[in-house]
Symmetry: C2
Amino acid sequence: MKKNRTKEGEPMRIGIVGGGAVGLLYAFQLSKVFTVTLYVKRDEALQTIKNQGITISHNDQKKETRNVNVMKWESDVPLKDDLIIVATKQYGLFEILPVLEMCTKDQSILFLQNGMSHIDMLAHISHAEILLGIVEHGVKKNNDCTIMWTGKGRTKLAGYPETQADLHASPYINKWMDTIGLDFPIEVCEDFYEMMMKKLLVNAIINPLTAIFDVRNGELLTNPYFQKCMKQLYNEINFLVQVEKREEVWNHICSICEKTADNISSMKRDINEGRQTEVDAILGFVMNLAKKQGKSVPLTEFIYEAVKGLQNNASC
Amino acid sequence: MKKNRTKEGEPMRIGIVGGGAVGLLYAFQLSKVFTVTLYVKRDEALQTIKNQGITISHNDQKKETRNVNVMKWESDVPLKDDLIIVATKQYGLFEILPVLEMCTKDQSILFLQNGMSHIDMLAHISHAEILLGIVEHGVKKNNDCTIMWTGKGRTKLAGYPETQADLHASPYINKWMDTIGLDFPIEVCEDFYEMMMKKLLVNAIINPLTAIFDVRNGELLTNPYFQKCMKQLYNEINFLVQVEKREEVWNHICSICEKTADNISSMKRDINEGRQTEVDAILGFVMNLAKKQGKSVPLTEFIYEAVKGLQNNASC
């Protein structure tokens, strides 16, 4: 571990790109121990956060407010922070990629996008260290500077293409663990593909099935017929996981169902509220991988169309 | 056509077995022109129908009442009627089969069961002429002697194993057509397998999909994603139809969706009202045929489990 890279007493600078729910949560938490700059695109959001700070509501109704450094995102100015956390939506990456390409080899970039389709873009970044992350928190944005932290989870992280023993970002990770790690945990994984694929499979199974059957996550397990449906879908798409990991990943999916038994999945909520779902990024991505590997996935295709149909119906 | 079999002036006797919604509807309609006897199992139903006749409510609120002959069903007394219409549920056949086996070669028996699994039982009837029928009417029973005629359809009929030019039942069919045929139509088909399979495919597609998506029949067509789901399911199970008939059957299914656009399918209604569905007789039967033919039907299996799950959920 290059622990010596950060000189004693020198502030650790973290830049967070994106003022969405995830960006605000990370800016709030990390600014407790790091020198954080939050980069946002809209002037209005910039002024609101500057004037009012970020307010976070917890499930128990408790509210906290913190002031954070906030700056306007400029599409041609290099970022100077040592660790840059990219908290935009996957489709927002196209716009900010040119700035990330300017990063130097002393900098690390942590990508927090859902799905896996952004991984193909990372080839453009030739210098900086790349980290891929998964956000397991439940968080909902109320307005430009206020969020609801509905579910406390972990941040999982892995190096790309692989996690090396001497990550540039290690001092940050260590300090994060040692200080705010109890309330806002972080976990380093060795294999980014396994980490991301596990999350993708969880999303590909729990989200669409709860949406179609109109049930909470836990019912996929407690209703034996729905459990069979889950297993059938898993059997069709588990070609994405190494044979020897398949049982472990299935158990992981079931444990997530159990842990989040009372939760309404994001896809079910999106449909109920007439919003666009992430079905393209999730099942569409699985269908693409299947096509590339010459696999037939009729069930996945059916469920994909069913979700699109429910979405279409709700928005009529 | 053996038109001469029924002597001039001799009453044409029709027996109807089963006092369910279908039995009551056919007893009501056919007793306008034939000598009809309705056979029922329960004493209470027998007395009620004897005392009050059968009352039929139409969609326009109009009500009609008719007296019909009604008799107690005896499990060891041969039936003397020339044409016997069996209007019990499929699982009710086991019990009445011994009496039907006593029928002679001058008698005809018309089976009106849903699905196709009863066809295997017909080998037991060695003498009487066998006819298979399909009821396209919508009818709902309110109590032992009152029904709602919600949808006017046709009775389709075919000889088993094939329709011969000289059906014993021809005089009945001709008289039915000529007298009450306008309000209560009958249609003779040549190929029982094609006739029943067409109906089975309609049931196998419209019923479960409307139940899962929680929509009325018409939305399967108007929502382009649901239409894709329908087509996908059809493509999986159309091995049941001859290649050259597949397009015709698909068009038939779509036309039924269109004609019954505002209808709530029986399976959706069964689920909504916490009742057992006919999914075993429909998709279970398709799965059995697939197994016999060595076909893989993953989508059908998924949808089968999904309907079972919804049923299970609703009855919790």
